[in-house]
Symmetry: C2
Subunit: 411 residues, 2 copies
């Protein structure tokens, strides 16, 4: 990959133009806002700032410099995708160092730039807006995701690696079993799933645990794929996929599960989600929500929200409680699987880099580089602790049919 | 005990006086506010309301009736303690039915009484007020608590019953081990404990896990007892008890633990507690807070807060997050041990009833009955799901030295 990150993409009208004192002042002032960044930044004429650690970032033209200084969290991604910013060295390491420096700079208010460097509000997540948000991300084409997700169940959520060195396929299966054990699924139970992706978990629950599943999703591409897989697996009678918003779920279930949907729901809708669960979950039912989260309430990185995941906003636990507390639910168990997501993403990125040329040929260099950056940035974020992965198990407040310990998860 | 609950206590100037239509109206209107209460209430002249289920509550005079209707959550306890209200039947069952009826009545706003029936704000919890609050409860005398707590370690917090039928002593030991395993204690580590009770956990950690403990507490009686026990166990060199407020903790520790203190801290001080942990916990340290909690923010029952636990206010998880989120902590694991507390309290109550006469002789009937009511009410509250028990494990956000799974807790 390192040869790939060196390729110059797009023509650059200013290449060969010298920097001015103002360009160099901008560069120095940006680096001063990122204390201890641990790399050097070089401008198009060879001017430099930062620490000579062998890692180098190259900004190839004046517009790129001015844009990244004005709004680094939005424009770095765009400029990297366009090849107008290059990183010489390991992309994940670069991003980890940048997150740490951003964090240090923000906490120290290291520069006046920090007043400017804020992420905007995410896009709306009404029923109609949600459909557009989800289309933009999940309807990129099942063929694209199947190039680098696990082949067995197409899980686009954090896997679970109880043993080191597990394959991605085994770890995704372990994740599904971990979820099913937490929910204590028994044959014949009715399970509702909110946001079912390509349907892998629903199939697994029906096949391995003998439950009946109704699974909701607003991504048309995913629903088609999922229904086709259920039919060919002979499980069409036990798994029903519904192309509709979670807000329209109805009926009664013994278990409610949602893996990787809450990121898209938005805190303003948590009360509504709690109400939906409140009207669906049987008195002795259990529910589980698996979601990317944060250590404190924060909006998403601007570039990821705009270019990759429209409307995304992973919640802090304090925000998540708005799903449970007003509706008489009792939180039974919260597990943070953050480092499992870093590991999952490393698997995805390695597979992605193997098919990088194929993606580039089919969808262009900008797209291919953007997705590499997104995967590398996600590895870095989970590894650095700026992102979390929460599994929250809950029940109605008066439900006493609970196991005494969590030992059954580890037997 | 049932013969005891029948004993009339105190003289009753109105005994023999007939009820008026207004007394009877008050009684009926109170019962209408408690839909499905599942017992009958009889006034001093034999007038009745409610359901004839074999369980009966007797209100022995007019003042008692008027007081309990005006503020049941405060005055029921006082009137029961004084013997002016009696319960014929199992006290825990009566309280469970009452909690359920209160809950149903509150949700349905079943009567205008519900506008009046609110619990007041708890008492202040400044450094000086906290000392008074703690004295009132914990300095009742070590001899009193040793009558009915586990003999081995005097744990006045929720035990852990991984096997049904465990003794209280074994379950308190299992609780301490569960906490120590979550914290992954290793010999030579420095542990800070905030609110150490009679010092049982500190001793256990030092003896069984080879750590050095500094334990803070503002209850003079408890600190004296704890220090004496450490000396006689030959652990005086490894355990230091400090008679001071948690707000004054200083130094660095590898593990921070607090079992059963947060109930007394008050949400307005959670930020201060987070700051204390933030300045004490080593970069790779782990922290655990074990506390009674609620499913939603709520003030404590008025009688318990006034007569038993001054200043107490168990938090909802959303409130607890104020300890962690502003200070860069990452929540790793939350476990709700509610039903273990119901079981612990049943053990305490059974032992308490064995020494009831002794307590009554030493401290009077009002005190003895109040503590019986408090223990029975707590069994009922944990069993009905109106109270929770949370263990929250946390670390600094960037700490990656974490076990992959929680299997080590169950080996």
């Amino acid at each position: 990959m390192s040869s790939r990150t060196h390729t110059t993409i797009g023509s650059d009208p200013r290449a060969g133009v010298s920097t001015t004192w103002f360009d160099r002042w901008l560069l120095h002032s940006m680096m001063a806002a990122l204390p201890g960044a641990g790399y050097e930044v070089e401008l198009w004429d060879g001017s430099r700032a930062g620490n000579n650690t062998g890692m180098q970032v190259r900004i190839r033209d004046r517009d790129a410099l001015w844009q990244v200084v004005r709004n680094p969290s939005l424009y770095f991604g765009d400029l990297y995708s366009a090849g107008r910013i290059e990183v010489d060295g390991d992309l994940v390491t670069f991003l980890e160092r940048t997150y740490a420096a951003l964090d240090a700079g923000r906490r120290a208010s290291a520069s006046p730039w920090w007043k400017l460097w804020t992420d905007g509000e995410p896009r709306p997540r009404t029923i109609s807006a949600a459909r557009k948000n989800i289309e933009q991300h999940y309807d990129l084409g099942n063929d694209f995701y199947s190039l680098w997700l696990d082949s067995a169940s197409m899980q686009y959520t954090c896997a679970y690696f109880p043993q080191p060195g597990m394959s991605l396929e085994a770890a995704q299966r372990a994740k599904m079993d971990h979820v099913c054990r937490k929910l204590r699924l028994r044959p014949g139970q009715r399970v509702f799933e909110a946001g079912c992706g390509w349907g892998g978990l629903a199939l697994h629950m029906a096949r391995e645990y003998g439950v009946e599943v109704r699974a909701w999703n607003i991504s048309r591409e995913q629903i088609r794929f999922a229904a086709e897989r259920a039919r060919s697996a002979g499980l069409g009678g036990r798994v029903t996929y519904v192309e509709d918003d979670y807000r329209n779920m109805c009926g009664e279930c013994d278990a409610f599960v949602s893996v990787g949907m809450l990121e898209h729901v938005g805190p303003e809708n948590y009360g509504g989600l709690g109400e939906v669960i409140g009207r669906c979950l049987a008195p002795r039912g259990l529910g589980l929500i698996h979601t990317i989260g944060r250590n404190r309430p924060e909006v998403m990185n601007g570039w990821i929200e705009r270019r990759i995941f429209p409307g995304a906003q992973p919640p802090a636990l304090s925000e998540m409680m708005a799903i449970f507390e007003p509706f008489g639910f009792s939180v039974l168990d919260v597990e943070n699987l953050r480092l499992h997501y870093a590991q999952t993403l490393r698997h995805w990125m390695a597979r992605y880099l193997e098919v990088f040329d194929q993606v580039q040929a089919a969808r262009g260099s900008g797209f291919a580089r953007a997705w590499h950056l997104y995967l590398a940035g996600s590895v870095a974020a989970f590894n650095a602790g700026t992102m979390q992965l929460f599994q929250v198990l809950f029940a109605r407040g008066g439900n006493n049919e609970l196991p005494a310990t969590r030992r059954h998860l580890y037997e």
